[in-house]
């Protein structure tokens, strides 16, 4: 499980996750992830390289979204693979956190 973050020109922060968002993966990245989330109000979480998402990963994403939402910020999930998108849909998470496929769209929406 790897995590990276960088500030985009618009001011939004792009968090890139890669690997498996399962129990083991979440234990490895969650602390750093929630720390970055705490410090930013416009967040794009790039899921392009997340090959597996299970309920512990959903828990982590929902926790982050609740925290950003409580500060009136925005969080958007970017470009999940078809199977990861299916997990987001089956769990109803895609009705709580916006999911978009295109980075430019994500940046525009997160800054709106």
């Amino acid at each position: 499980m790897k995590i990276s973050s960088n500030k985009l020109q618009s001011g939004a922060v792009l968090i890139g996750l890669s690997g498996r968002l399962d129990m083991q993966g979440v234990m490895e990245f969650d602390q750093e992830f929630q720390d970055i989330v705490q410090k930013n109000n416009a967040i794009i979480v790039d899921l392009t390289h997340v090959e597996f998402l299970a309920s512990m990963g959903l828990r982590s994403l929902i926790l982050a979204a609740k925290s950003v939402h409580a500060r009136s910020g925005q969080i958007i999930l970017l470009n999940p693979t078809p199977m990861v998108a299916q997990v987001l849909q089956a769990s109803g998470t895609d009705t709580l956190i916006m999911v978009v496929q295109d980075k430019a769209d994500a940046e525009r929406l997160v800054m709106a």
């Binding site: 399962d22 129990m23 512990m56 199977m83 997990v87």
Partner: protein, 145 residues
Amino acid sequence: MMPTEPVAAKIESVTLLPELAELVRLSAWVDDIGKRLEMSMSRLYAVQLCLEELVANVVLHGRKFHEAKFSIYVELSPSNGGLEVHVDDSGWPFDPTAAMQPPRAHSLDDAPVGGLGLVLVRRFAHSITYRRDGDWNRVTLLFAD
């Protein structure tokens, strides 16, 4: 030329300790079998997901108060193009088919944190059955096209 033998529908099994670290071993084991059986990507994902959720549940909640040790037995058995998956454990009695489904949240504010594991199992397996057999919980999942 050697005649091609049909691939036998072999039953595969693994016994796990009730520890979170075992989830990594489980996932590698399933991956290996999936590749050997030439499972589709979506089938392999569904099996991985359901096993991760069920076994994590058992590891986190299955331990009996006075009994430190118990075991988890996972079996994969291909049948008629489908796959039958058994998860047996000798932990605290728990029927995942009777567990309450959390209500669907309409906003982030009322969204529960967690509790989505069994929701995913119900959606990704074609069927789930449970029986209590002596000291064992026996869960059977069916995956079919």
